[in-house]
């Protein structure tokens, strides 16, 4: 039974991995990686790593893949060329991969580890459960655990800094002009216009300017007071 499950999961894992590399559309590559991750979680379950399997499905297939899908949708999932147009890597890459596979197989077959041929240590109740993982995290591996949380926070802040909007770099200026220049009914305005800091649509004296877009009067002024976001 476990052998059948292993081969089904292993075929799923390898199919997903090959799909990630060979599919042209990045969106389909992401979906192939989701298949790969779910099959990999099944392999983890066969190895009695329940908590790692659950974390794999929740964190990877659930959260990280959604991030990928968002970025692929933002950039545009057009079909990409499968190979680089020219260059030595196009030929050398698969050769290197084959050499790596052969080398890893030699290393595994020639290994002196006797446990590789066996089914592993005898199963004790509670192995790989959240209880045991949590105990190890909060006793033996407390410092790496805290450092990992720090690393996550640094990465989150770094991603925000990297991907935020900077002024004068992208073509959103005319869209903001449209926002500012949208016609407004008379006697509606912002608090800055009420206080007299900024001239708005309701404070103009000529009656024919009341329906005019206020961007003509205030567009240049509030551009300079805008933040970096």
């Amino acid at each position: 039974m476990s052998a059948v499950l292993f081969f089904i999961a292993a075929i799923g894992v390898l199919t997903g991995a090959i799909g990630v590399v060979m599919l042209r559309n990045p969106f389909y590559s992401v979906l192939a990686l989701v298949v790969h991750l779910i099959a990999l979680a099944a392999l983890f379950l066969l190895l009695r790593a329940e908590f790692v399997a659950a974390a794999q499905v929740v964190v990877y297939a659930g959260a990280v893949m959604v991030l990928y899908v968002f970025v692929v949708a933002y950039i545009g999932g057009a079909d990409q060329p499968l190979h680089r147009p020219a260059g030595a890597l196009k030929v050398l890459g698969p050769i290197f991969g084959l050499a790596l596979a052969v080398e890893l197989c030699i290393a595994m077959l020639g290994s002196a580890l006797k446990g590789i041929g066996g089914k592993g240590a005898p199963y004790v109740f509670g192995f790989g459960t959240p209880r045991q993982i949590g105990q190890l995290f909060l006793t033996t591996y407390l410092l790496p655990f805290e450092l990992a949380s720090l690393l996550l926070m640094v990465a989150a802040v770094g991603a925000v800094v990297l991907a935020r909007r900077r002024r004068g770099l992208e073509g959103t200026e005319e869209f903001e002009d449209q926002l500012v220049a949208a016609p407004r009914p008379a006697y509606t305005g912002t608090m800055a216009e009420v206080a007299g800091i900024r001239q708005g649509a309701g404070t103009t004296t000529e009656p024919d300017r009341q329906t005019e877009p206020i961007g003509a009067a205030t567009g240049s002024k509030d551009r300079s007071s805008k933040g970096g976001w």
Partner: protein, 99 residues
């Protein structure tokens, strides 16, 4: 199943990921292939953890998960920044630092 089978699957996934990193020009797919390689390492760690009957390998696998999540966050931020600057999203064309 013997532990060696799991290690063989892990080695194959690692090689597929390495080939993908080298032949694909799109940085998004390169990140996906990096994920493949990290997952191969995870599978080997969990298999060795089962072999010794100690859960420390699973702890390492969870740390690899955390590091992979950080790598994805920063990598996707970089790709979005590249796209916003209207530069080509292609590692062959992004060669301004080439000596």
């Amino acid at each position: 199943m013997a532990i060696g089978w799991y290690l063989a699957v892990s080695a194959l996934i690692f090689c597929i990921g390495a080939v993908g990193v080298m032949i694909r020009p799109n940085p998004l797919v390169i990140l996906l292939c990096l994920e493949l390689m990290l997952n191969a390492g995870n599978l080997a760690l969990v298999a060795f953890s089962r072999m010794w009957g100690a859960a420390d390998g699973q702890i390492f696998a969870l740390f690899v998960l955390v590091v992979a999540a950080c790598e994805v966050t920063v990598g996707l931020g970089l790709i979005v920044a590249i796209y916003r600057r209207q530069m080509p999203v292609n590692v062959d064309d992004l060669s301004e630092l080439h000596g």
